[in-house]
């Protein structure tokens, strides 16, 4: 299916407004992190999600808390959209024990298991099979939950991606494969990586639905995600959503990287003109779902949250050196009642 430009408006105003808030929260958090990385306050490598907010938000807004989401090295947006706490995110980036991964993981390895966010991985494609496994678990245990794998265009170059698509389709597992095609895999344009850059087409080979969406259109993302999620909940199997988008910053860190000969300022500007947040904002205001004063209130509230998250991060302690080996193994199961011991 090519990009569908039909108008749309069957989502409740409350959900729409919430999506707007989530996107703005992601944007502001990422901008702040960018500043802190530049100031060398944050040391761990941070891959910013600025420009791609509509995808995490649109998909996660169509999920339940019990549904699972897996993320990548570019993880903050997915975490926030699934409902992750920004205090513990910020503390993690500072390497504090109050961080969501207790200062062991950093930006590329954040987690919030209680809300269906078991973790993000820095190995490209690494979490796609895991999402399939979560789908398998839901399938075995006859739950109507779904698993989402977020990944980039670059991830579709690894064999594990195709193995995962096939197995999920073969077993009709409740998995949504969400490819955020931002046109680049580190320094490489997608045209230098894929013989056929229409990623959604790969679905056809596995007999699963595949759609290409304007990834900067939050409503469209939500609608298509909802469709795929319902399909999966009904036991009909996985879907592949290709969301076209663009990262405004370089691959890693706060810079825009237009001086490296990899992408042009013109290209960046043209995508910035398609800002997913401005777009949703304009829609909400036109529909009288969002007023000017409300908009200001939201903006202030988010700034306050971020200030608080920084204070929270600051206040936390660093791990103690003698706790280096803590968490290598999980605590033993109490096997007393498991039956006869051999």
């Amino acid at each position: 299916m090519p990009i569908n430009k039909k108008p749309h408006n069957n989502i409740s105003p409350a959900v729409l407004k919430k999506m707007y808030i989530t996107m703005l929260r992601i944007r502001r958090v990422e901008e702040k992190i960018g500043e802190l990385v530049r100031a060398k306050e944050i040391i761990c490598p941070c891959h910013l999600y600025i420009g791609q907010e509509a995808i995490a938000t649109g998909v996660c807004s169509a999920l339940r808390k019990e549904d699972y989401v897996f993320s990548t090295h570019r993880s903050h947006g997915h975490y926030i959209a699934k409902g992750g706490d920004i205090n513990t995110l910020m503390a993690e980036l500072y390497g504090k024990i109050t961080g969501c991964s207790k200062g062991r993981g950093g930006s590329m390895h954040i987690t919030s298991p209680d809300i269906g966010f078991p973790g993000s991985s820095a190995i490209v494609t690494g979490t796609i099979p895991l999402a399939v496994g979560v789908g398998l678990s839901f399938h075995i245990r006859e739950k109507d939950n779904v698993a989402v794998a977020f990944f980039g265009d670059g991830a579709t170059n690894e064999g594990a991606f195709y193995e995962s698509l096939n197995f999920a389709a073969l077993k009709k597992l409740p998995v949504i494969f969400v490819c955020e095609n931002n046109l680049y895999s580190t320094h490489m344009n997608i045209s230098k990586c894929l013989s056929d850059t229409r990623i959604y087409k790969k679905a056809e080979a596995f007999k699963m639905p595949g759609v290409c969406i304007d990834g900067n259109d939050t409503i469209k993302v939500f609608e298509q995600a909802k469709k795929a999620i319902d399909f999966a909940r009904e036991g009909k199997g996985p879907s592949l959503l290709e969301c076209l988008t663009y990262r405004w910053r370089g691959h890693v860190g706060p810079n825009i990287d237009v001086d490296k000969g990899l992408r042009s300022e013109k290209e960046l500007k043209s995508w910035m003109a398609k800002c997913p947040i401005k777009r949703l904002e304009a829609f909400l205001m036109k529909q009288d779902i969002l007023s000017k004063s409300e908009k200001e209130k939201i903006s202030k509230q988010i700034n306050k949250e971020i200030e608080e998250s920084l204070a929270f991060a600051e206040k936390g302690s660093f791990p103690k050196a003698n706790e280096l080996h803590k968490y290598v193994f999980a605590k033993d199961l109490d096997t007393k009642n498991l039956g006869k011991r051999i």
């Binding site: 040391i43 761990c44 490598p45 390497g95 504090k96 991964s101 200062g103 062991r104 993981g105 950093g106 590329m108 390895h109 991985s121 820095a122 190995i123 490209v124 494609t125 690494g126 670059g154 991830a155 170059n157 690894e158 064999g159 594990a160 895999s185 580190t186 320094h187 490489m188 230098k192 990586c193 894929l194 490296k260 000969g261 990899l262 660093f318 791990p319 103690k320 050196a321 003698n322 706790e323 280096l324 080996h325 290598v328």
Partner: protein
Amino acid sequence: MRKLSYVKAINEALHQTIEKDKNVFLIGQGVISPWYVGATTVGLVDKFGENRIIDTPVSESGITGAAAGAALTGMRPIVMHPRMDFMYYAMDQIANQIANWHYMFGGQVNVPMTIWGIINRGGEQAAQHSQAIQAMFTHIPGLKVVMPSNPYDAKGLLISAIYDNNPVVFIDDRWLYEITGDVPKEMYTVPIGKGAIRKKGKDVTIVATSWMVQKAIEAGSILQKDGIDAEIIDIRTLKPLDETLIFKSVKKTGRLVVADAAWKTCGVAGEISALVTENIFQSLKAPIKRVTLPDTPAPMSSVLEKAYYIDADNIVKTVKSLI
């Protein structure tokens, strides 16, 4: 002699071998990026073109296998992995195909390729962007493994690896990249399978790999001031291991410390230690000690990184515990 950095030494080895031999080519992620894999691949594409300097999609398994396939036809590919952590995806090709091919077919077909893996750690990069997995390759029959610790060896061992008729895993550490040293302009080889003595001594033998050789040299001068005369061996090749050099030294000193900045269990340090006890146990005046990383994934927080990584200090303390 001319001084060159470790990075430039690698770069020069690549330029010279690719220029000299039409069968040599370089393939891997980032060989044509503005960062040029820490500047090791600067200038190559301009000189040799995209036919022989091949940047690739993220497909470690497929690309490593493809390089091996080219090697089966007599080419001498260099497949570069910008981080060892990403090599697990290529492990099947390396361990099942590449390492076994020559033996499995009774020596009729060989795989003359260089598998270049880079250790890139520190800076809070955490568990999946920090690994030094030399032991995994050293474990596998059919692979040779080299780890140069200075610019001279980086160039000489890379050229040796490229011209070896077997698959050679060439491992460098980004922490070594800015180190400078004497490097001849012309092409030369450093023999695979031969270690080198970096400092003569009589009280204790320190065998070290890669980055830890630099740390052992530092430790050696600290110890000297305290009246301990350490002999420092840069093992250079992990497989085949220069046992003769190690045995000769330990027979003289009676004490051995092995320093390898990788996990302890089933590591290179453990292997060297076992060889010494098996063969020259009688020469030992003290237990053999290992200075390695703990059996823990790389942490993120700087505080934990500091506790995790090892330094000259760890070697000094360990040596002193034996004397």
